[in-house]
């Protein structure tokens, strides 16, 4: 087990290293991407550009620049090229909004996804099941930014039932916090509710065909006990794996669209703004953070999976 964990850790580090190199290269091979020229502005003379280039070390070989940048990522000295703000501070500033969005939406989509999925499986083949199946497909076919924009405009701006956007810190006003997040949570969760209910339905139906269900029935357990205590418990395993991974993606800036439509000013929006200005350091930092969450939760999911499912063995 220890050897396995160490190997897994090494693989994680290698993946993150490659991610950082890829992002760094993307921003260094852009022909119009010379950061010194953009920082100096349009009217700058060649000597001014040259001075900035030397001051920020853009004249160094590319691997030296990479090493310097990566050192700064870990020491917290990373500075944005365009507005010269401290990148780590900006990420920390955006993190509460992103965390609130991710956690709330993840809870909603898990609960609703499991409820709909289990219900559909119980009613398999009947009208309710068909209806849920089609609704789930509708849910995964609607672009989140379109739905979000419509919700923000019609329920927020026009009807005034909810705030049309913005983030209210939890510490300042817990009720306002939830009130501001209702629409973003709903918009983001909808996609996953559709997906999860489908996965759970398939998994429950699959479980019902397993021999252990016959055994449980033969023992004289009620149909409800069989379903909840045996089938549903096992069917949750793939859902929990999926949940961990999706949560990581949303946490690591994957909710860019929801964040920008509702103007939540979170980590994803910070990254989107930075990309639009070709500002490499914030993009590098946010992408690494996102990749870190994905890789870390991927490993956690595997370990939890092994703990829940005796058939998965660590070798």
């Amino acid at each position: 087990m220890v050897r396995f964990m160490l190997r897994r850790l090494l693989a994680m580090v290698l993946v993150l290293l490659a991610v950082s190199v890829v992002v760094f290269l993307i921003f260094n091979v852009i022909p119009n991407g010379d950061p010194a020229a953009r920082m100096a502005g349009k009217q700058a003379t060649a000597t001014q550009v040259e001075a900035i280039r030397r001051e920020w070390g853009f004249d160094e070989p590319i691997w030296v620049q990479y090493a310097t940048t990566m050192r700064k990522v870990f020491t917290g000295d990373l500075i944005s090229y365009t507005n010269r703000l401290d990148v780590d501070e900006e990420i920390l500033r955006g993190l509460p909004a992103t965390l609130s969005l991710a956690i709330g939406a993840a809870v909603i989509w898990m609960v609703l996804g499991v409820a709909f999925g289990a219900f559909a499986a119980l009613r398999a083949g009947r009208l309710a099941d068909r209806a849920i199946s089609v609704l789930a497909l509708v849910g995964i076919s609607v672009p989140v930014f379109w739905l979000g924009a419509l919700m923000s405009h019609y329920l927020g701006f026009r009807a005034g039932i909810f705030p049309s956007g913005g983030y209210e810190p939890l510490t300042r006003d817990p009720l306002g916090w939830a009130y501001h997040l209702v629409l973003p949570w709903t918009a983001l969760a909808l996609l996953f509710v559709g997906l999860y209910s489908r996965v759970l339905r398939a998994s429950v139906l699959d479980g019902l065909r397993q021999p252990y269900v016959e055994t449980a029935r033969a023992k004289g357990l009620s149909e409800r006990r069989v379903l909840v205590g045996h089938v549903l418990k096992n069917s949750l395993i793939p859902i929990v794996s999926l949940w961990g991974l999706d949560f990581a993606v949303v946490l690591g800036g994957g909710a860019i669209l929801t964040e920008s439509v509702f103007d939540l000013d979170g980590v994803g929006q910070f990254a989107a703004d930075a990309i639009a200005q070709l500002d490499a350091p914030p993009v590098l930092a946010v992408t690494l953070l996102g990749a870190f969450f994905v890789v870390l939760l991927g490993a956690v999911v595997d370990i939890v999976h092994a703990a829940l499912d005796a058939r998965v063995r660590v070798t």
Partner: protein, 345 residues
């Protein structure tokens, strides 16, 4: 390589809106598959809907030239630009800049956008771009992912380790973030690989970006299935007859992957169309003034107050296209794998 990584459920892919069930031992394709597919009215309806959408997009130049008499890029922003509605002459853009709504006539059938462009014409051309990018990207993903999965799953060893690691790297990126970063960078600089050169504003760039981003979502399940297929007797038999690895991969393994590929491709198409819209919405996909459903939404959403039709029309078209592909894909999957219900449980 541990047995462990391969045992991770293939459906455990983030942001892939749908489960993909890859049985370790694929059930033989039932001969009733096609008949079962045709029996579902929903599947037929979605196939018809998708066919109509595609036909409408192909006919885009016809509508533009013969009916509306304009092009998708042509603006009508001056006060002299008018259109006759119910015998009454009205400006395309009102004095306050408010674009005209649907006229249900030949010109501006679905209204104008905030630059006075014909929404119907842009919708047809934009739908064309979005469908072409989505379908093209999904096919390119399949073209890249299937050989990767085959080679990694069958040859194992160092090749497998390298391919798996590369897939892990792409997979670790948040999808939209990677897509946006690549899209913005390439839109500015264009791309040059050997003799192939793609200009910065080209639609091939979002297509390429989307195809690359989704490779792991297809290559991983293929690799897992190849690994389990490789243990089966028919592969053993082929090897005993002296078949080389290439022959085994192409002639023995590939035919057995058909149902997995057929099940995954519609899913990829639906997701690719959605990702194109998202990238264009964030300014990293199709570049203006070229229309796509994503760029139309980007223009429209800022104008929800005065011109809701400019947001509702492309959004509904997008949902219709993605939903019909998803319904169709679902029907195909059910026909191939057999639904648990249909098999009786």
């Amino acid at each position: 390589m541990t047995a462990w990584t391969s045992s991770a459920p293939p459906e455990a892919l983030p942001s892939t809106p749908q489960e993909v069930r890859v049985d370790p031992v694929p059930p033989p394709v039932p001969p009733v598959g096609v008949r079962r597919l045709l029996r579902s009215r929903l599947v037929i309806a979605s196939a018809v809907a998708l066919g109509l959408l595609v036909a409408a997009c192909i006919a885009a130049p016809l509508w533009a030239a013969a009916v509306a008499g304009t092009s998708p890029e042509r603006t009508n922003a001056s006060p002299d630009d008018t259109v006759v509605v119910d015998g009454e002459e009205r400006s395309v853009l009102a004095d306050d800049g408010r674009p005209i709504g649907p006229t249900w006539g030949r010109r501006f059938f679905l209204g104008a956008d905030d630059e006075g462009r014909d929404v119907m014409v842009r919708l047809l051309y934009g739908g064309r771009a979005s469908l072409a990018i989505g379908i093209g990207a999904a096919l390119l993903t399949a073209l890249l992912a299937v050989p990767l999965g085959l080679v990694a799953g069958y040859l194992r060893g160092p090749i497998d380790a390298v391919v798996t690691w590369a897939l892990d790297v792409i997979w670790a990126f948040p999808v939209v973030l990677l897509g946006v970063a690549l899209g913005v960078a390439l839109a500015l600089g264009g791309l040059k690989i050997g003799p192939i050169e793609i200009a910065g504003g080209s639609r091939l760039i979002p297509l390429l970006v989307i195809a690359v981003v989704y490779i792991p979502y297809m290559a991983r399940p293929i690799r897992a299935q190849v690994r389990s297929l490789a243990e089966r007797e028919f592969v053993e038999a082929a090897r005993a007859q002296g078949a080389g690895p290439v022959r085994i991969m192409v002639a023995e393994l590939l035919p057995n992957l058909t149902s997995t590929i057929v099940a995954l491709v519609p899913l990829l198409m639906a997701n690719a169309i959605l990702l194109e819209a998202a990238l264009s919405f964030l300014g990293a996909g199709v570049q203006p003034p070229d229309p796509s459903l994503g760029t139309m939404l980007r223009d429209g959403i800022e104008r929800l107050t005065t011109a809701p039709h400019a947001t509702l029309v492309p959004g509904l078209a997008l949902v219709a296209a993605v939903l019909s592909i998803n319904l169709l894909g679902d029907g195909v999957r059910e026909a191939l794998e057999g639904d648990a219900v249909a098999d009786g449980s």
